[in-house]
């Protein structure tokens, strides 16, 4: 887990993250999709990238592991990073599968961490969606 040392460092780091996002061809603007997706029946976390697939970004392994444990929640959340265009994309869960956009995208990571934390706190899917909309939409 990376934590900022001070407010200036923190803000610089945030700006750098956004810049990296933009220069990687991804948009940081909020998704125009008006609603969250409905979790697919029988969805599993089997496609979430594994420890082996994350060997270049080991710091993210715990996050991906947490996402894998609650696919029925993560699949009911839309991603606000602008990556909703690929046809194979369905939900925030998709960011943690296949090409693994969440490996590079701080918005995907932030939404994922927030969802995992609120789920652990006992929040419902609707409450998690509201919190994610408040912070990221």
């Amino acid at each position: 887990m990376t934590k900022p040392l001070d407010r200036r460092t923190f803000l610089t780091a945030s700006s750098a993250s956004i810049a990296a996002l933009l220069f990687s061809g991804r948009s940081a603007v909020a998704s125009t999709v008006p609603t969250h997706p409905t979790p697919r029946r029988g969805i599993t976390g089997s496609k979430v990238l594994t420890r082996e697939q994350l060997s270049k970004t080991p710091a993210l392994i715990p996050l991906f592991d947490s996402i894998r444990e609650i696919p029925e929640v993560i699949d009911g959340i839309r991603c606000n990073c602008g990556c909703t265009n690929p046809p194979e994309f369905y939900s925030l869960l998709s960011c943690y599968e296949a090409k693994g956009m969440a490996r590079d995208c701080v918005i995907c990571q932030g939404q994922g961490r927030l969802a995992v934390r609120l789920h652990k706190e006992g929040k419902s899917l609707d409450q998690i969606r509201s919190a994610i909309d408040a912070k990221f939409a």
Binding site: P4, L5, D6, G110
Partner: protein, 292 residues
């Protein structure tokens, strides 16, 4: 020979179609303000030694003129806005100006966006008609639209040509409300002990964080002062969650750190007891505990 000619023709044709030297080249400006995209597309006539332009055969007084050339200049707004206080619905409009010698000009936004400059529209109820006071400006050779002034809630959209400047104040729909009623603010007010954490999650610095309610806005401030944040607005995004809004030297909000920073308050026995500051990636940056 025929083959060679055909080959050359095939090579040159697309170029001939795509590249065209125009007296009034096409230009566009686009500006996003708090999620509202404001775009102007126009052909840009040049003065070409003509001075003056207004009040001559180029642009006659009392003419309904499109501030551009060829196809009428268009204004496209992705969400409803207000221009000089006049509501303008989301959509694309052709832009016209009634050019007057002495009095104020009138900017006309016509929902029939695709019109040639020789076909100025008659007055209709669908139009937005905005009286504007023109300004004098340094000579501008090529007609230019720009947004030289931006605020958090809007900006100035300006047309400039010859020595005329037409400023339009554009206000967008704010995505956040920076004010908080005194009754709602009361439970957050007070002094907190703030503990900043390092990258390992250990205490790195202890400061004091004060929350006040001033001018209808909840405000936070560290002691000692944070040189960037100074006294900043705490803008509510959901019950007990706030984001910081940073003020410029004139006391105007110019940046909202969302989703960069979230201040999440926690309650004990229904009362605000502490808060956690998290970054975009949901990492804890520091915690505050109420002192009084």
């Amino acid at each position: 020979m025929i083959l060679r000619f055909s080959f050359l023709a095939a090579l040159s044709l697309p170029v001939a179609v795509e590249a065209q030297i125009r007296a009034s080249e096409i230009g566009t400006i686009s500006q996003t303000i708090d999620g509202t995209v404001i775009s102007v597309e126009y052909s840009r006539p040049r003065a070409r030694g003509r001075d003056p332009i207004f009040g001559t055969k180029a642009v006659r007084w009392d003419e309904v003129w499109t501030p551009g050339a060829n196809w009428a200049t268009t204004l496209d707004v992705s969400k409803p806005v207000q221009i000089n206080g006049h509501p303008v619905a989301k959509g694309k409009y052709s832009v016209w100006m009634v050019v007057r010698k002495g009095g104020p000009w009138t900017v006309v936004l016509d929902p029939r966006s695709h019109r040639y400059h020789m076909e100025p529209p008659d007055s209709t109820k669908d139009q937005v008609r905005i009286p504007v006071r023109i300004q004098t400006a340094p000579f501008t050779d090529v007609l230019a639209w720009s947004m030289p002034e931006l605020r958090m809630d809007g900006g100035t959209l300006a047309m400039q040509w010859e020595r005329v400047r037409v400023p339009l104040d554009v206000k967008v729909q704010p995505s956040l409300v920076s004010t908080l009623p005194a009754g709602d603010a009361a439970e957050y007010l007070g002094e907190y002990k703030f503990v900043e954490l390092d990258s390992a999650g250990k205490e790195s610095k202890v400061t004091v964080f004060n929350i006040t309610h001033e001018g209808g806005t909840l405000k936070g401030r560290w002691t000692p002062d944070d040189p960037y944040m100074k006294k900043f607005a705490l803008i509510r995004i959901s019950p007990d969650w706030f984001v910081p809004g940073v003020y410029d030297e004139s006391g105007t909000l110019y940046e909202v750190l969302k989703p960069d920073i979230t201040v999440e308050f926690k309650r004990e026995n229904g009362k605000i007891a502490s808060f956690v500051i998290r970054d975009m990636e949901d990492n804890v940056w520091g915690t505050g505990t109420r002192k009084r």
